[in-house]
Structures are given as C-alpha cells and as structure tokens.
C-alpha cells in the first residue's frame, strides 16, 4: 500500500521534468535600452599574469575605464567587470556552455570561432540582429574595415553572431641555433613533407633534442587538429570537409597518418609528450629551451608563447634564434587548389550573451572593443593580426613574422567548416593520431577513424576511399 504513491511519484516527476529540459528563452531587442545605470561583464579565457595576459590587461586597463568614461559623458552610469579565466580551451568551453545553460554568463563573451555552430544551435549564442535589431547591427561603421572573409568567422548558417577578434595562420617554426649545429640553412623552406623529414633526420645528430614536434593525440585537443592533421590534409589536396562530405578513411587521411607514423615511430618525435596531460605546454617550454628543432604552430606561438616580453614560455633571443617557413604540401603542387604551400586559420569571436539584461549596451560595448582606437591599443605592445585592416596596416609594420603571416600565409590559408559536427570529427581525428603515436598502423587507425566519423555524422555524410 505504501508502494503506490511512491510509484506514481516515479512516473509524475520525470514527466513534469520532461517539459523543462532545453527550454528556449524569449528575446526582446529593446530590453532596458534606455537604462541610466547598467552593469556588464566581459568574459574571456584570459587572465592577468597568465594565459592571454595581453587581453586581460587591455580589458582591465583600457576597455573598462574608457568605456565607462564614454558612457558617463552620455549621462549613463555604467559598471563593467572583467571575468577572467585561465583554463584549457575545452574546459573554458564547458564553463561557458554551462553558464549559458543556467541563464548566466558574461554579457560579452569571447569564444573560439569553431564553437559558434554548436552554441548557435543550442541557443547559447544568438544572431546579433535577434538580440539588438538588424538596424543597430548595420549601423556600425566598423564593418567596412573588416574584410568579408574574416568577418565570416562570426557567421553561422548565413547569420552574423558576433565580431571576430582576429585571425591567424600556421607556419613551421624552427630553431636556427639547432639548425646551424645540424648543418641546415637559416633560411630553410621545405617544399615537401619529405624535406621536413629529411631536416628532422639531420637534426637527430644534435644530442638531447627532439627534431620534430607535430601535435598529436587527444590530450592536445584542438591543437592536434589545427596544428597537425588539418594543415597536413590540406597539403594532400583535400580539406577535411569537401563537397558536403567529411573525409573518412581516404587515401588522404592515410597519408597524413603515415606522416605521423614516420615522425613518431622513426625517432623524429617524442611519442610520450603527445600523451601527457600538459603536453602542449611542455612542448612550448621545450622549444623555448632549445630542445625542439621544428614545430608546427600558429602565429599565436610567436606573439604569446615565446614572446620575450610577456609570453608564457619566454625566449629572450626569439628574434634571432627562431625562423619560420610556410607549411609545404605533401609534394609541390599537391595542396588544396594546386598550392605548393598550405595553412589553416581560425580565431576567436566576441558574441553578446543571449542571457544579458542589457543587449543594446552589450552591443555598444562590443562595438567599442572593436573600434579603431581600442583595437590599436590592444595590439600596441604585442602586434597581432586583427580583424581591422586599418589597424593591421599600422601595427604589423614592426613585426617581420606577423607581416609574413599577413602577406604570405593568409592568402593561401583555409578555414574550418563552421558546422556543429566538426567538433566530433575533430575528436575522431585526434584519436586517430593518438592511435598511430601509440603504435597502430595508419590503415588500422584510419579504419577506426572511419567508424567514429560514421557514428558521429551518419554513413551518408562520409566520403570513403
């Protein structure tokens, strides 16, 4: 007799709950538009004295005081706070998603462009036009200064969700001091994968160093995909997503995994490092310590990692000791679009949190953060490729590396497909490299990868061999 109320409770509660999972929120573009007093929070994966310290410093010392001042001039009392994070990208993503899910989070958020699809489909990011009104979005004069291809980083499904922070390009960094010891030239530019392996083999003559660091494994997460598999795939002539299909166990994927095998089973790379929880950070430290010969990284590595002024793994002689070269295609002319050299690009996007109480003010803040003055102030100390061409023209002059990326690499670069499925495919690619590093053959790893991709996106979305 006691059982029956218990049972009915068991049935009723989940039924009630069923109505609550995943509710979409209402939106009002003019909400609190005329508030005389408001509070906004800026969120980013940046922390004073830690990760992306530049962004944190700029936000706290430039954006907040200047914006508050500008609002005061209009008779509005604004309070702006910075909510910094210093976590791995994956953890930061989880945090932002959980914040958004529970109705909270910073009002203006910096997220990786590649998460935009998932967030948009989940309603955790909304088109700017839905949040503040199309007229207000179009009214911003900054759009004219952002090249359309770069602005598209903030688009999903043909709608604009935010303003990109900047973009980047991938190159091969090499340590000129180690190269000199191995008898390699200081103006090294490989023209095929074989050239890179050749240089790696020569570097084995230098004791106590790792010739090539090619990111692999699941612990490095997206760094494996972006600084490893994708540029290599582009070098085989076919991007990961082509003609509406994801690449399965194609010859291209097998070739890429074959290169991983040559590096990690051939004594040219350090297989253990790829599996360590903090492997990428360690690779940074090792490169700065002259322990790595060749490293595939983005310009982020140059400006935020080995930067002698404020990097996380400072290299005092960076400007003289570090060389860079374009990433070669598998063979000359075998890259996407018949290119000899390839690159991949990404970048963060700043979006307005749909949960904000002050959407108009948040958009105003977002415009302010992307104004000419603010953008220039952000990259004044550490030049970086911004989205604004007017700022780039001015600040990149002094930095040969970034000028090189802007002039030589960006014209040949490719972007990741802005689809929500991408993250799962990316994870499967990371797993495939992990398998090869752990000793599986490229064919076996490719077969397992094919299975994982089919499971993630369905048979119809995968191109086999």
């Amino acid at each position: 007799m006691r059982l029956r109320p218990m049972l009915s409770l068991l049935v009723v509660v989940p039924l009630l709950a069923a109505g609550c999972v995943g509710k979409p929120a209402e939106q009002n573009t003019g909400q609190n538009a005329d508030a005389k007093e408001f509070t906004l929070v800026i969120g980013a994966n940046a922390l004073a004295g830690g990760k992306n310290a530049n962004t944190a410093k700029w936000t706290a010392e430039y954006v907040i005081p200047k914006f508050v001042e500008a609002q005061k001039a209009k008779g509005v009392n604004a309070t702006v706070r910075f909510e910094g994070n210093g976590a791995d990208d994956k953890d930061y993503k989880t945090k932002v998603a959980l914040d958004a899910k529970t109705g909270g989070g910073a009002d203006v958020l910096e997220i990786d462009g590649i998460w935009l699809g998932e967030f948009a489909q989940a309603g955790q990011a909304k088109p700017l036009a839905d949040l503040v009104g199309q007229d207000k979005v179009d009214a911003w004069d900054g759009w004219s200064k952002i090249p359309e291809a770069v602005a598209a980083l903030g688009d999903f499904d043909g709608r604009r969700y935010g303003v990109p922070v900047g973009t980047d390009g991938r190159v091969l960094y090499f340590n000129k001091k180690l190269f000199a010891q191995a008898g390699l030239p200081a103006d090294w530019q490989p023209r095929s994968w074989e050239d890179v392996l050749q240089a790696g083999r020569k570097l084995t003559a230098v004791a106590g160093i790792v010739p090539i660091q090619l990111n692999a494994g699941t612990a490095m997460t997206e760094a494996t995909t972006m600084q490893g598999v994708l540029p290599l795939l582009a070098g085989t002539g076919k991007p990961v997503y082509d003609n509406g299909k994801w690449q399965g166990a194609t010859q291209n994927v097998k070739d890429v995994l074959g290169l991983y095998q040559k590096v990690y089973s051939g004594g040219l790379g350090d297989p253990l490092l790829q599996q360590e929880a903090k492997g990428r950070d360690k690779s940074f430290a090792q490169f700065a310590d002259n322990k790595i010969g060749i490293l595939l990284e983005s310009d982020y590595f140059w400006r935020s990692v080995i930067n002698p002024a404020n990097g996380v793994a400072r290299m005092t002689d960076r400007d003289t000791a570090v060389g860079w070269a374009k990433v070669p295609a598998q063979r000359a002319g075998s890259g996407v679009g018949g290119q000899d050299f390839v690159s991949m690009s990404g970048g963060s996007v700043r979006v307005v949190n749909p949960n904000t109480k002050y959407p108009r003010q948040a958009w105003e803040l977002l415009q302010f953060m992307n104004s000419f003055d603010a953008t220039r102030a952000r990259v004044a100390d550490t030049p970086q490729i911004t989205v604004r061409s007017d700022v780039n023209d001015e600040v990149l002059k002094g930095d040969p590396m970034l000028t090189y990326v802007a002039k030589e690499v960006l014209p040949i670069t490719r972007y990741r497909p802005g689809l929500a499925q991408y993250t799962q495919v990316s994870a499967a690619l990371q797993q495939a490299t992990a398998d090869v590093v752990a000793g599986k053959s490229p064919d076996d790893a490719a077969a397992a990868y094919q299975q994982a991709v089919v499971k993630a996106v369905g048979e119809a979305g995968v191109a086999g061999n």
Partner: protein, 291 residues
C-alpha cells in the same frame, strides 16, 4: 501499521516531525536521482541542437554504452582499481599496520598513525599536485630517487600509479578500523593460542578473524564503494593517456562535460549505481550469513 507509539506523539505529529527531513531528502536526493534517470533516457547534450530539443531515445543510451568499447574499458579499469587498491591493497596494508602496531611503543605508534592519517586528511587537490610533482617525467622526485630519468610514470604506468596512489591515500581508514576491531579480540584467547603453539597464520585465521569478520566485511564494503566512485584519479591523469586510466567516474565526467553528452553520461551514472548496488548486496549477504 499498528501503533507502537513509544514517544506518544501520535501519527500526525510524528509525520510533522519527519516532514522537513523528508522534504530535504526529496529535493536533494530523490528528485535529482529521478531527474538523472530521465535525462539518461534522452540524447540531451551540453551544446548543439539536442540541448534545445532533446529526443527520447529510451534505452538507447544503455545499449549504446554496453556496446561501447570505451565503457567496457572503463568498467574493467574500475574493477581493477577497486580490486587492486581497495579490496587487496588498503585492506591488507591497513590490517598489517594495525596488527603490527598493536604491541609497538606508544610514541612509534602515534607517529606512524599520524603519518598515515596525514595522507588521508589532506585535500585531494593538494595531494594530487604533490603526486604529479613526485611522478613527473622531468625533474620528478621519484625519478631522482630511483635514478630512472625520463620515466613518465603517469603516462607509461597510469593504472599502476593510480592504484599505488589510492593505496597510499586511503589506507588510514582501514588501519583505524582494524585497530579498534583488534581490541575486541580477547587477549586471553591470543594467549591460549600461543600456549598451544599455534603459528602466526593459524592464530590470525582461527582466533582473530572470527572476532573481526563483521569489521572486515564492513570495511571492505565501504572502501570498495568509495574507491569505485572516487574522482581523484581525474586530478592525476584526467583519464589519460588514451583512456588508459579512465575509471567510470572519470569516464562519466568526460562524457558529460568533456564531450557534452549529458544524456549518455546520465545513463552510465545509472549503470555505475547498479554496479554499486550489486557490490553492496554481495557484502550484505555475506554479512548476514555470519549470524
């Protein structure tokens, strides 16, 4: 229900007294449990389309888990972890410490107990940090001590490292429990055993064990459950490398918050709950057979 109303409250007032507790249990225990069962029946995700419109997939998550090699892997690792570090490790080491410290000098006994307890009471994060430093590949203390430069213990021997870690971390509880349990063994019986020339093993088996059988079972039950649900391995290896130390709690976390598959992770939580129930039932049966 007949009235055996010894407090003289009457049914209404008795209910009123327990109501607050029941409400709290309902809100914080029963509801979340039912809620997670419900989520386990959907494809609810952290991001993407199914975070807004989750579909009911019924037992799809459960069957998916049972055919997921990663789930099988983590179930096996969990059993290995429980068996190695709790069932055998903490039990035996805890008992050995308690047994050999019985006759030790008071000062020595306090010192050893203090050190073992310290491993138990330090916060997990602090302990994990210390162990990472000890086991680190470059400049780790263990490599310096053993003269094995370049051995990445947490990468090359992740599960063995975790088992030793948990042994070190959790032995205090078993030691304390057995220390007090050994007090119930009448000294006269031990004396008699010695008089008739019983060996150490037969003394333990025939004199000591029958007295502390209940304690052994209780202890084993508790440490098994704690170990099976322990999340500290995450702080040391995050389940890596390549899922080689991904015990069930870590697997659930990785699925839920790493991959965002909240529905799938909830379904696996239910499976973990079932595993726990089975363990508990087995022990309870053994315990009952004693009487």
């Amino acid at each position: 229900m007949r009235a055996t109303d010894s407090a003289g409250l009457g049914r209404g007032r008795a209910l009123a007294f327990v109501a607050p507790a029941l409400v709290l249990i309902g809100i914080f225990l029963v509801f979340p449990a039912l809620w997670s069962i419900y989520i386990g029946l959907t494809d609810y995700a952290l991001t993407g389309p199914s975070s807004v419109n989750p579909r009911l997939v019924g037992t799809g998550n459960i069957t998916g888990a049972l055919s997921d090699p990663l789930f099988g892997n983590s179930l096996w690792l969990t059993l290995l972890f429980v068996f190695g570090s709790a069932l055998i490790g903490q039990n035996v080491l805890g008992f050995t410490l308690a047994w050999s410290l019985r006759g030790a000098r008071r000062g020595l006994r306090r010192l050893v107990e203090g050190l073992v307890l310290l491993a138990w009471i330090l916060p997990s994060t602090v302990v994990a940090y210390l162990w990472v430093a000890v086991l680190d590949r470059d400049g780790g203390t263990l490599n310096a001590l053993l003269n094995t430069p370049g051995t990445a213990w947490l990468v090359q021997y992740p599960m063995a490292s975790l088992i030793v870690f948990n042994l070190w971390r959790g032995t205090a509880f078993s030691m304390l429990l057995y220390s007090s349990a050994l007090n119930v063994v009448p000294p006269s019986q031990l004396e008699t055993a010695r008089m008739v020339g019983a060996g150490r093993f037969s003394t333990l088996k025939d004199v000591v064990f029958p007295h502390i059988r209940g304690h052994v079972l209780t202890n084993t039950l508790l440490i098994s459950l704690w170990t099976a649900n322990d999340f500290t391995p995450f702080l040391l290896t995050s389940g890596g490398p390549d899922h080689r130390s991904e015990t069930l709690p870590v697997f659930i976390y990785q699925q839920a918050l790493g991959s965002g598959a909240l529905g799938y992770a909830s379904a696996i939580s239910l499976l973990l709950l079932l595993v726990n129930l089975v363990i508990a039932l087995v022990y309870l049966r053994l315990l009952r057979r004693r009487g």
